[in-house]
Amino acid sequence: MAKLNVNIGDLHLKNPVMTASGTFGYGTEYADFIDIERLGGIFVKGTTHELREGNNYPRMAETPSGMLNAVGLQNKGADYFIEHIYPEIKDLDTNMIVNVSGSSVDSYVACAEKIAGLQNIPAIELNISCPNVKQGGMAFGVTCAGASEVVRAVRKVYPKTLIVKLSPNVTDITEIARAVEAEGADSVSLINTLLGMAIDVEKRKPVLSTVTGGLSGPCVKPVALRMVWQTFKAVQIPIIGLGGIASWQDAVEFLLAGATAIQIGTYNFVDPTISIQVIDGLNAYCDRHGFQSVDQLVGALDC
């Protein structure tokens, strides 16, 4: 039995396997299928200061080994989360991490401030990489100046572990990672979805109401892995890797490339039990290869 616990800043994880925002609801949706308290953490659905209805249907297109989504941060707002959802999840024995999004620097700050007051939320993931909203979201995450501005402002009001979720839709993700590290981010998570589109040839129309959407699933894994590896060489803060993880082998790849922890996203839809299989698989891998602790794998790529 290997030691599976890892740390992200002050955040202690019982194991490096977490579930990605927007794919796991508030965790309770999966409670019939798995013991969600076995997870290292759960990143809950993207939360904004005000209620958001999200984009019009259709919001989803299946693509080879993946899917496009254009949900557009549908959520009932921070106050609703605090009043109605937080009481239901606050006593779960895992890290409940809120993914915070906004349409302006002020709205990011307002949301982060509210979530900071919740005792049992030990961290936030600042989403500067959502490709499906017209204002804010990815607009902040594709330039160093924009990323710096929002992280600087949120850092001032958020004292706990601040994770910044990066967009892959940039020329050089390491520049953005360095910029947010310089503003005091405790960790970066990458990657958010890749901007893509799908066309219905019979109707000669886009499949998604928004024309473009975010691509996720196993098809993006090689891109995500490459970006984690590049970022690992560029920053000192711990990296949370995600993008197409569908097996324990995928998780090991991300750890070897430099991720301290990982998130499982889209594959939860295909196999709601995958996260537990990955925890068990990681443990067996460590035992088989003689690693006493899973953190010995981090960045251990031999190249």
């Binding site: 949706e29 080994s65 949900v71």
Partner: protein
């Protein structure tokens, strides 16, 4: 209701039509409770184009044989793959998902229930009709299809109640769409349940509203997770809010939706 992920065994797979198969699945354990109108998500492996599970409505639950029936319309790679399953093969299924049709109160003085189906939308009405009959109610079925050959499971429907038919080409029953059928003028109904193409359900809902008949519609929006996590399958409510078809539906009272706004 508790949801399960089961490895189920194919007992039969009958190609009823070039575009439909009736897939029957069983398990060693007793099947959990399932309500008419609920659906399942079937995992279809071994192809990059069938990444997500396929949401399929529950066609029937045969308690004597411990069988779940799925009437599958062959639309794309996933459903075409399902048509190739042979008896003995294992299929991974998540169930039961969503909310079913509202069953009338046993003491209800409402007696006449009309179940209106079009195309593959007839699928959940078989189990609903069976459940109504079992509870002592009288289901009437109004089924629409392009032509006679496209009407599925007619004999099974006829064992449960009166069946009225429309076909677009007039090859059997009355010619035209379900909402043109004379039974709607000649009989009065207490409740209408409908499932089929959206334009058909909208027309049925308009008829119901015009005649002050309660009406439930069953939707088939494209979806990913099936359990309310991804928020992809949304439909607009009357108040213009987006709600998940997989968890708030797939069955909705038409009063909840924006269709007749």
């Amino acid at each position: 209701m508790k949801k399960y992920i089961l490895d189920m065994k194919v007992t039969e797979n009958n190609r009823l039509h070039p575009n439909y198969c009736l897939l029957k699945l069983t398990t060693d354990e007793l099947l959990p409770e399932m309500l008419p109108g609920q659906f399942v998500e079937v995992r279809v492996d071994n192809s990059p184009t069938t990444f997500l599970r396929r949401p399929i409505s529950i066609n029937f639950v045969d308690r004597n044989k411990n069988e779940l029936w799925l009437l599958v319309q062959l639309i794309g790679d996933g459903t075409r793959k399902m048509a190739t399953y042979r008896p003995g093969e294992t299929v991974n299924v998540m169930l039961p998902l969503g909310n079913g049709f509202t069953m009338p109160d046993k003491q209800s003085n409402k007696k006449k229930f009309l179940l209106v189906g079009g195309g593959v939308g007839t699928a959940p009405l078989l189990y609903m009709g069976w459940c109504l009959k079992k509870e002592g109610f009288e289901p009437y079925f109004l089924l629409g299809a392009r032509s006679e050959a496209d009407l599925m499971q007619l004999d099974a429907f006829k064992q449960l109640g009166a069946v009225f038919i429309t076909t677009e080409d007039g090859s059997t029953g009355e010619s035209g769409y379900v909402t043109n059928h004379s039974v709607l003028k000649n009989e009065s109904f207490d409740f209408i349940y409908t499932c089929g193409p959206k334009p058909m359900m909208v027309a049925v809902a308009r008829f119901a509203a015009a005649n002050s008949i309660a009406c439930e519609v069953s939707l088939e929006n494209t979806m990913a997770c099936g359990i309310g996590a991804c928020l992809c399958c949304v439909e607009k409510t009357k108040e213009n809010h987006n709600v998940c078809v997989c968890t708030e539906g797939p069955v909705f009272n038409i009063d909840k939706l924006s269709w007749l706004n």
